[in-house]
């Protein structure tokens, strides 16, 4: 049973939900520990079958090493976020037992997303994921920002769903089926591609772009990132992106592989605008969470570049980039989660000033992560960027490489501005010193990871290229 991890998680989540509603003794901490436990076990189910390949439920879902790898990545991230929930001092509004349970539901949605092999199942899993995320974003009900973010996210999400369904219906109208396999067969039989097939694909691409917040469909991102509780922002910036990328990769490489050139052009526009918006938009931001939103957009643009040639190398590069991006992002968000002044959470850039004087070690970790974000050698971010740029140049897309490098330079500016702030600015009111040791160790771990990757890049290359193989085995 290759769908076991999803079944396991959903069943145990339901049990947890029952426990939460009937038992008054169990508080949110216990719930979080239970969830951690569930996530931990689910990883074993996946690891057990990581190299298997099977279509299940009449081809509704597919289990291959790529989906398993993505699921594993999602689970690890989710586990870390739940762990953050445990170790960090949360605002009161998050202290409800439903919070970890909702994360688990989203998790199931996302795991199904990367496994989906049919537009219908894909739609269902995206909706499961989105609905839970809407609730999570507006979890601090009494906070007007959080509610506003929730509403915005919900409406944009619904729009995305509409567009997705419209695109699917167009494709269904042409192909007569919503399964990826029949679309693939249909396309290989055509001599000239029907225009409406590609129009349908564009609709679906736009819908997924909304999920991964690629420009020009990014507008909701800064507002939602800023408004949502920081922990939810951490979640938003990592797991749904991985899942959506998984969907995007599978969709483009498997059923639509015949028209690589067509969607490649659209991806070029998407990636260029994303990189530009991501780097330019962040320049004037004063809030760290908002800044991280633009930073995400910029990174997404970078990752999209890897998909343009639609080759195995490209997917490998994206997988590596995702791993590095997630570690950097989690590290920085862990720090933002721990940014308190007088017990109140703050997230302005000015609050960072003079951090080096009060907490030199944390400042150094932060600097490493930010350097990595900016893609400065020898950090992990540099390797990710290098691999993708290499790929782009190999495919003779020189102008794209030049734009990517230029936007990275602009992006480097605002990362390094943060470092300047940390190391050289005069401190105003000092931040509270991070008191919980787990956070310190974890931050140290993320920073060290970003530094040591340079010594073992081959390991990541081998790992990612071995999982991407399964995607191409089908064609």
């Amino acid at each position: 049973m290759y769908i076991l991890p999803e079944i396991f998680i959903s069943l145990s989540t339901l049990i947890l939900l029952l426990l939460a509603s009937f038992s008054k003794k169990i508080n949110q901490k216990d719930m979080a520990y239970f969830s951690l436990f569930i996530i931990f076990f689910a990883q074993f189910f996946i690891l057990k079958d990581i190299f298997y390949y099977e279509e299940i439920f009449n081809g509704f879902f597919i289990v291959d090493s790529f989906s398993s790898f993505m699921k594993l990545l999602i689970l690890i991230c989710a586990g870390l976020i739940v762990y953050f929930y445990i170790i960090v001092k949360n605002p009161v509004s998050l202290n409800r037992p439903e919070f970890p349970i909702l994360i688990l539901f989203a998790l199931v949605g996302m795991m199904l997303m990367v496994s989906a092999n049919n537009f219908l199942s894909l739609f269902m899993s995206i909706e499961l994921q989105s609905l839970t995320l809407y609730i999570l974003v507006s979890f601090s009900r009494k906070d007007s920002f959080s509610s506003e973010a929730g509403v915005k996210y919900f409406i944009i999400g619904s729009l995305s769903t509409c567009i997705f369904l419209f695109g699917t219906s167009l494709i269904y109208g042409l192909v007569g089926s919503v399964s990826f396999e029949s679309i693939s067969i249909f396309m290989s039989e055509q001599l000239t591609m029907p225009t409406f097939l590609i129009v349908g694909l564009i609709f679906i691409l736009v819908s997924i772009s909304l999920k991964i917040s690629a420009a020009p469909f990014h507008m909701w991102t800064p507002d939602v990132y800023q408004g949502a509780p920081t922990l939810v922002t951490t979640l938003l910036s990592t797991i749904p992106k991985i899942a959506a990328f998984g969907v995007l990769i599978r969709l483009l490489v498997y059923p639509f592989s015949e028209i690589t050139i067509d969607w490649g052009k659209i991806l070029i526009i998407l990636s260029i605008t994303s990189m530009l918006v991501g780097s330019l938009g962040a320049l004037l931001q004063s809030d760290l969470k908002r800044l991280m939103a633009y930073s995400t957009i910029n990174h997404i643009g970078f990752m999209l570049m890897g998909l343009i040639p639609g080759t195995e190398d490209g997917i490998t590069a994206i997988c590596i980039y995702i791993i590095f991006y997630v570690t950097m992002n989690l590290g920085i968000f862990l720090f933002i989660l721990n940014m308190n002044r007088d017990q109140i959470n703050v997230s302005s850039i000015k609050d960072l000033s003079g951090l080096y004087k009060s907490q030199p070690l944390m400042a150094t970790f932060m600097a490493i992560l930010l350097f990595s974000m900016a893609g400065i050698p020898p950090m992990a971010g540099f390797i990710g960027k290098l691999i993708i740029l290499n790929l782009v140049i190999d495919n003779n897309l020189f102008y794209l490489a030049i734009i990517a490098v230029l936007t990275s330079v602009i992006a480097a500016f605002y990362y390094i501005r943060l470092i300047k702030c940390i190391f050289f600015d005069q401190p105003q009111d000092e931040l509270d010193i991070i008191s919980n040791n787990q956070s310190k160790y974890l931050l140290g771990f993320f920073a060290t990871f970003n530094v040591i990757v340079i010594f073992v890049p081959q390991f990541f290359l081998d790992l990612c290229s071995s999982v991407t193989l399964s995607l191409f085995a089908l064609n």
């Binding site: 736009v206 659209i266 530009l276």
Partner: protein, 641 residues
């Protein structure tokens, strides 16, 4: 053992730098001296253990491996490198010990000792290298440490200027050497010295294109290497940095600018002697001519200098000229002999000068000294030995080595040898005059310093006198004991494996085919020189003053070092400053900065504002952007793609 003798000075450097300020300064200085003593012992033992004709490359690890280009970290262990390592270690040890006394009042003395150790390491690295790239690393390393040490008293503006000058002038030479390395790799396909020498036969007719002309490859390489050597060994044209380098502390002058670093050029040519022999006559003539010009120029200028260290610096320059002359007539062993003996007596002279300066409360002008012979007798004796050895008075080191050079020039096969010979004799005369002048001014005339300084004159401490004494012993006996190894019957047996030996000249020398007049001519020159000095400074004092007034133009000409500094200043320094200023003002700040960094950052900033303005916060704006984006993509696809 051999490796230990090379790497111990590096450990001394690390020791000094890491423990600076953590231990008492005196302890660090003394222990760094002990490290050097130990290193010298290692060098001595490895020298003794050397078997006849042993030539072994100790490979430490691979350094660069790229295509057909492969370079190792390796050390050549043979008679040539080992003797050089021994000499460098030995002189460096003495100077370390001397510095403990000399720098006692300086509060950065630990750093100073560290730099000395680093320099010694680079020098050893240079002389023991078995490939040209590693040698180049050492070459640059000594250049760097030389820069650091000349500018050691960085609060003195002149020291900084001199340090920069030394570095820049050396860069000119280094550029030649780099080009030589490129050419060597193109021609031979390797930078390993032994491999190059093996491939010589097969490559001696190849031609390479350089600057659009076809050249005989080996001649080109030799000339380029020689340009590098000119820079490092301060030959005429690129000599300008050496006198100015005397702004550094005196031990530095003794170690770097007399005994070791400046002889690196000579040493490089000696290792590559078979290469030079394969090149055409032109290259050797160039070396001979440059050597001769340097020799006569430096010794004549030295007569008119007043700064004690500058006199000795010019003297170094002219002695290096002798060495290059010897190389120019293919007498490599003799050049090497003079290199070693010069190291001893020149280090001695510098340290003696340091001792004088120390006792005169940092006065360097010899016109303000005088009558010191009974005040600082030990220094006086050592200076006397050093000067006599430099002049080449019989049975001192300089006598053997310099006379050998002169005889070999006479016997040499060059067609301009007779001019070189005459000039070398004239140089001996000049050398005598400036040495005697120095001795007279410093020790024998009535004192001209002010009362306070005079009252304060004292003999230097034992720790400074001890190295002087040891060096004096070497300055006296080294030539006497060693001269038979560097010329004559046993020459080929000893050095045949490691450098080119011109048997024709050596055989003629061995049979004694030198006219007695030639053999004795340096001695006559010395006696004549001493005679002139006595005439000028004692017998006809008044006349000489009048004469000096008459010949003011000539005197000025020499006092200003032939105006070479001024010419360089006018041609190179002023123009490059002018150009630099022009480029900076009009092109860099006005054009590039405005259009480039500043302009672009302004542009980026305004774009940032535009992007942020889109972020209005209104949901319907966002939805609009999604719809517009979607429509845009669809229309792009349908109408354009």
């Amino acid at each position: 053992m051999f490796l230990l003798s090379i790497f111990l000075p590096l450990s001394s450097f690390l020791f000094c730098i890491t423990l600076n300020k953590r231990l008492k300064d005196e302890y660090i200085c003394i222990s760094s001296s002990f490290i050097l003593i130990f290193s010298s012992i290692c060098a001595f033992l490895s020298f003794l253990n050397l078997e006849t004709n042993q030539d072994q490359a100790i490979v430490l690890s691979n350094w660069i491996n790229s295509g057909s280009f492969s370079v190792d970290w390796s050390v050549q262990y043979n008679l040539l490198s080992s003797s050089m390592v021994l000499m460098v270690n030995f002189v460096s040890t003495l100077i370390h010990i001397y510095s403990v006394g000399y720098m006692v009042k300086d509060d950065r003395k630990v750093i100073f000792m560290g730099y000395l150790g680093l320099f010694t390491f680079f020098m050893l690295f240079l002389v023991s290298s078995s490939n040209l790239l590693q040698l180049f690393l050492g070459w640059e390393g000594v250049g760097l440490t030389s820069y650091l040490l000349i500018g050691f008293w960085y609060k003195k503006n002149q020291a900084n200027v001199a340090a920069i000058k030394a570095f820049v002038v050396n860069r000119v030479g280094d550029f030649g050497l780099i080009l030589a390395l490129f050419a060597t790799f193109i021609v031979f396909g390797t930078l390993n010295i032994n491999e190059i020498l093996l491939l010589l036969e097969s490559q001696n007719t190849t031609r390479v294109e350089f600057l659009g002309f076809q050249f005989h490859s080996i001649t080109l390489i030799v000339v380029l290497i020689f340009i590098g050597c000119m820079g490092k060994s301060a030959q005429f044209g690129l000599h300008v940095w050496l006198p100015d380098a005397m702004e550094g502390p005196t031990p530095v002058s003794a170690l770097i600018h007399a005994a070791t670093m400046v002889t690196a050029g000579v040493f490089l040519l000696i290792i590559l002697s078979p290469l030079i022999e394969e090149s055409s006559q032109i290259s050797r003539s160039i070396i001979l001519i440059i050597g001769t010009i340097t020799c006569i120029f430096a010794s004549s200028v030295a007569i008119f200098q007043n700064d004690i260290k500058r006199i000795i610096a010019y003297s170094t320059c002219s002695q290096l000229g002798y060495m290059f002359m010897a190389i120019g007539v293919s007498a490599y062993s003799v050049a090497y002999f003079h290199l070693l003996s010069h190291a001893f007596f020149k280090a001695l002279l510098f340290l003696g000068a340091g001792s004088i300066i120390h006792s005169m409360s940092d006065e360097q002008n010899i016109k303000k000294m005088g009558g010191l012979y009974n005040k600082i007798p030990l220094t006086y004796i050592t200076m006397l030995i050093g000067s006599f050895s430099l002049m080449g008075l019989p049975f001192l080191s300089g006598y053997y080595s310099k006379d050998l050079i002169i005889e070999f020039i006479y016997l040499g096969q060059s067609n301009i040898k007779i001019y070189a010979y005459i000039i070398s004799i004239v140089s001996v005369l000049f050398t005598t005059i400036y040495s005697v002048r120095l001795l007279i001014y410093v020790f024998h005339r009535e004192n001209r310093s002010d009362e306070k300084v005079f009252a304060h004159i004292h003999e230097s401490p034992l720790i400074m006198i001890l190295p002087l004494t040891i060096l004096s012993i070497f300055a006296i006996f080294f030539g006497m004991l060693m001269n038979s190894y560097f010329a004559g019957e046993s020459l080929f047996k000893v050095w045949g494996e490691f450098m080119f030996i011109n048997n024709d000249i050596n055989d003629e020398y061995t049979i004694g085919n030198v006219p007695i007049l030639v053999k004795k001519s340096p001695l006559f020159a010395i006696i004549f020189g001493i005679f002139i000095c006595f005439l000028i400074y004692f017998t006809f004092k008044e006349y000489s003053q009048a004469l000096k007034k008459r010949l003011m133009i000539l005197v000025n000409f020499f006092e200003n070092k032939l105006y070479i500094d001024e010419i360089y200043n006018f041609i190179f320094v002023k123009t490059s400053f002018y150009l630099g200023k022009g480029f900076w003002k009009s092109i860099d700040t006005d054009l590039i900065d405005n259009l480039g960094p500043n302009g672009i950052s302004r542009l980026v900033g305004s774009f940032g504002k535009v992007v942020s303005r889109f972020q209005s916060g209104y949901l319907y704006h966002y939805v609009l952007s999604v719809v517009v984006g979607l429509t845009l993509f669809l229309s792009i696809y349908i109408y354009i793609l």
